[in-house]
């Protein structure tokens, strides 16, 4: 830790030194006078690192900028203020900006607590010393969470960093009425899935709805086939690049996927997940492998009630034990660690009361704390919640478990290429992975 502290403070001082040497080299007095405000504006000024102590207020940075989650977090902060008397100042940033600028945000003057994701995406910044460990908070809220949740909230140094708020599972979604009409049954093995797909195709449906214009949705299919074929641990090792991409186990994933490819929507590369969700809503396709957020696309209540869920079928290993269920929650920044009010706040989100406050406004996700009120969940969401609760291991989705550069810059084009013509170059994936992971 101490080494990390040194490093981050070095990052703050160095630009200052640059400025001085720069000024020295520029001899013209007038220019220097004009330049000082300009240059200091560039380095972002001095970070307000003072005044932590026992304040009765905290700042909360949120990337949940969509209307519903935004209102939900508002409800949480209001409930917290009502309970503790501490005031919370929220800074809501559009979520893409929030994610893209997270590194600069954490090094600049971050809020005390902020919304983020579990998995590698959290551990990476923990390793850089940009987050505050919260083992003391976990001593109080630990009993509220399952073992899988606790694992997902732990940093690379074994300390606790993350407080889960909600999660949502990935799986197959389908319209009950369409299935009942045609007499389809939920497949539990891969062979059954393939047989079902063949029947659906014969019936004139697109068996598996699919969209990958944005690149990331296809990772869900890859993750599931990989976990069902090679196991959860292999998924974790591969995303951490402790396993090579250039091996038969990885090729087998793509070989298996190739059997499904003819049944997935051939127009996937030109569509967003919203387009695909609409297709399924219209009954043009049989099922859709996506996160439960797919239901956000169905505003019609009868249609929404017609949507059901089943987990990805078994292939070779571990049955249906592993489930892909990305967890969103809160972290404390380095600076926020000194603020007791901020610690109380993240503790609050780790209690059933805090999660209920959130879920009441945003019911499209599943609260993670035991004892949270599940009565408001729809029957389908209850099924989702059960699937997660019964899972032996929970993965976070490829782009949360792997190095972001690997996920965004390598996997997205590679998977799009695979969808296009069924070709994949695992040797090249490995050589790219080697270069990117080495740069971290």
């Amino acid at each position: 830790m101490s080494r990390n502290e040194e490093r981050s403070s070095g990052g703050i001082i160095l630009p200052g030194l640059d400025r001085r040497t720069l000024l020295k080299t520029i001899g013209v007095g007038a220019v220097a006078a004009a330049g000082i405000p300009l240059l200091s504006a560039c380095t972002g000024g001095s970070g307000p690192n003072a005044d932590p102590s026992a304040s009765k207020s905290l700042t909360f940075g949120s990337g949940s900028s969509d209307d519903v989650p935004k209102a939900a977090y508002k409800a949480v902060t209001d409930a917290f203020t009502a309970k503790s008397g501490d005031t919370v100042t929220s800074n809501v940033v559009p979520h893409n900006d929030f994610q893209n600028k997270i590194a600069t945000y954490l090094q600049g003057s971050p809020d005390d607590s902020f919304t983020w994701f579990a998995g590698y995406r959290m551990q990476y910044y923990a390793k850089q010393g940009l987050l505050s460990p919260i083992d003391d908070v976990w001593e109080k809220i630990g009993a509220n969470f399952s073992e899988g949740m606790k694992k997902a909230a732990t940093g690379p140094d074994g300390k606790m960093y993350f407080v889960p708020n909600y999660n949502y599972p990935w799986g197959f979604f389908y319209r009950k009425s369409v299935w009942a009409e045609k007499g389809y049954a939920v497949p539990t093995t891969f062979d059954e899935l393939k047989a079902l797909c063949a029947t659906m195709k014969k019936d004139g449906l697109i068996p598996i709805e699919f969209a990958d214009k944005d690149g990331w949705p296809a990772m869900g299919t890859f993750d599931y086939i990989n976990m069902r074929l090679n196991g959860y641990q292999f998924h974790m090792d591969l995303t951490a690049h402790e396993e090579s991409w250039d091996q038969p186990k990885v090729s087998a994933v793509f070989d298996t996927w190739r059997e499904l490819l003819p049944y997935q929507n051939p127009g996937a590369l030109g569509m967003t997940w919203q387009d695909a969700a609409i297709n399924m809503g219209k009954g043009k396709s049989g099922m859709y492998l996506l996160g439960s957020f797919v239901t956000q696309q169905y505003t019609d209540a009868t249609l929404l009630a017609d949507i059901d869920f089943f987990p990805f079928p078994e292939i070779a290993m571990e049955g249906q034990d592993a489930v892909e269920a990305p967890i969103d929650g809160l972290l404390l920044s380095k600076k926020g660690g000194n603020n007791q009010a901020a610690r109380d706040f993240v503790e609050f989100i780790g209690t059933p009361a805090g999660q209920d406050a959130y879920a009441k406004v945003d019911p499209s996700n599943i609260a993670t704390a035991k004892g949270a009120d599940t009565s408001s969940l729809s029957p389908m969401m209850k099924k989702c919640a059960e699937t997660i609760a019964n899972a032996k291991s929970i993965s976070q989705f490829f782009d949360r478990d792997a190095l972001p550069a690997m996920a965004n810059n390598v996997m997205i084009p590679a998977l799009q290429g695979f969808i296009k013509d069924g070709k994949i170059d695992v040797k090249n994936l490995e050589s790219q992975a080697k270069a990117l992971y080495a740069a971290q």
Partner: protein, 324 residues
């Protein structure tokens, strides 16, 4: 150089200027033409642009070149490690997107030069006639140049969308399996993007040529028609050559636009799946969570080197001209 007797003549009681040596005194005499406030203003006016140039052009450029030989996670400065040519080897050997990107940039240049720029010229010539409502047409064709990235994305989404888009609707294929997947089909989407780019580029070229056409002396055209030249001959033999300075600007703009082609492709699918461009690769590797600064800088340096070729040719041409 000059003899001391000549120079010492205008010396003042000022102790420093009275020094007998040659060169410093000459300097003093020259500078004295400017008052103190002149000097401050001059220093400011030269210094500030220089500083801005340094700050926004030279320092970032040199830093990019430096970073392209390092590995860095973008966090603490102490994390920068030397990487030799590893990033460039990644770009040339490992990145599957690089060579397609180069091809697409070249295709972009050819398409703009052969289709978009002549189209802009044609629009300019047509609108330069005394057509009713010429100003309105001009504005209509120029609007795309001013639209924001997000708007451009929405507009073309409306045209190109597979099932609900206007184009497939007009072709009568919307909603059928024969519908052309304008964005998703990698053999089609580059052309779709090029059409969108032309839509912007032609308006830009049109405005420049309109200004150029207005600058051509009308008596030249008159003389040509008196000599019996028809409209086409007048244009290609007289007007077009008379616009030589504009033509050079247009050539440079076309090249620059094809090198920094980015926005249309980025709004479609962030430059993947058949739409790879070097500039999109630079952004992919430099911005956002997936940043890998060394590799992104290597892409940027390659783009810089490519850009230097037309820039050098252009500058050497213009400077040669000024000597005449």
């Amino acid at each position: 150089m000059s003899t001391p007797t000549e120079v010492s003549e205008p010396s003042t009681p000022d102790g420093r200027a009275a020094r007998p040596a040659g060169a410093p005194v000459i300097k003093a005499r020259r500078v004295r033409r400017l008052s103190k406030s002149d000097k401050v203003i001059l220093g400011f006016m030269i210094g500030l642009p220089t500083l801005i140039q340094l700050l926004f052009v030279w320092i970032p450029t040199l830093l990019s070149v430096f970073l392209s030989f390092t590995r860095w996670n973008g966090l603490a400065l102490s994390d920068i490690r030397a990487a030799g040519f590893a990033n460039f080897s990644y770009v040339f050997n490992d990145s599957p997107a690089f060579w397609p990107a180069v091809q697409h940039n070249i295709l972009w240049l050819v398409f703009l030069a052969v289709i978009a720029t002549p189209l802009g010229l044609l629009l300019a010539v047509l609108l330069d006639q005394q057509i009713k409502g010429s100003k309105i047409y001009q504005s209509v064709f120029f609007v795309p140049v001013m639209l924001s990235l997000a708007l451009v994305g929405i507009i073309w989404q409306l045209f190109y969308q597979k099932d609900n888009g206007l184009l497939n609707f007009l072709l009568g294929t919307a909603g059928t399996p024969e519908a052309v997947d304008w964005f998703g089909d990698p053999s089609v989407n580059i052309w779709a993007a090029l059409v969108a780019a032309t839509w912007r580029h032609a308006g830009y070229v049109m405005i420049l040529y309109l200004a150029g056409l207005k600058g051509v002396d009308a008596s030249l055209k008159e003389a040509a028609s008196l000599d019996g030249a028809n409209a086409r001959q007048t244009f290609f033999r007289i007007v077009f050559p008379a616009m030589a300075p504009i033509n050079i600007v247009i050539v440079v703009i076309t090249i620059i636009e094809s090198l920094r082609a980015f926005d249309v492709v980025w709004v479609i699918n962030k430059g993947t799946n058949g739409l790879e461009l070097i500039s999109a690769l630079v952004i992919t590797y430099l911005i956002g969570e997936g940043q890998s600064i060394g590799i992104g800088s290597a892409f940027a340096v390659i783009l810089l080197v490519i850009s230097l070729v037309p820039i050098t040719i252009y500058l050497s041409r213009t400077f040669r001209k000024e000597k005449f």
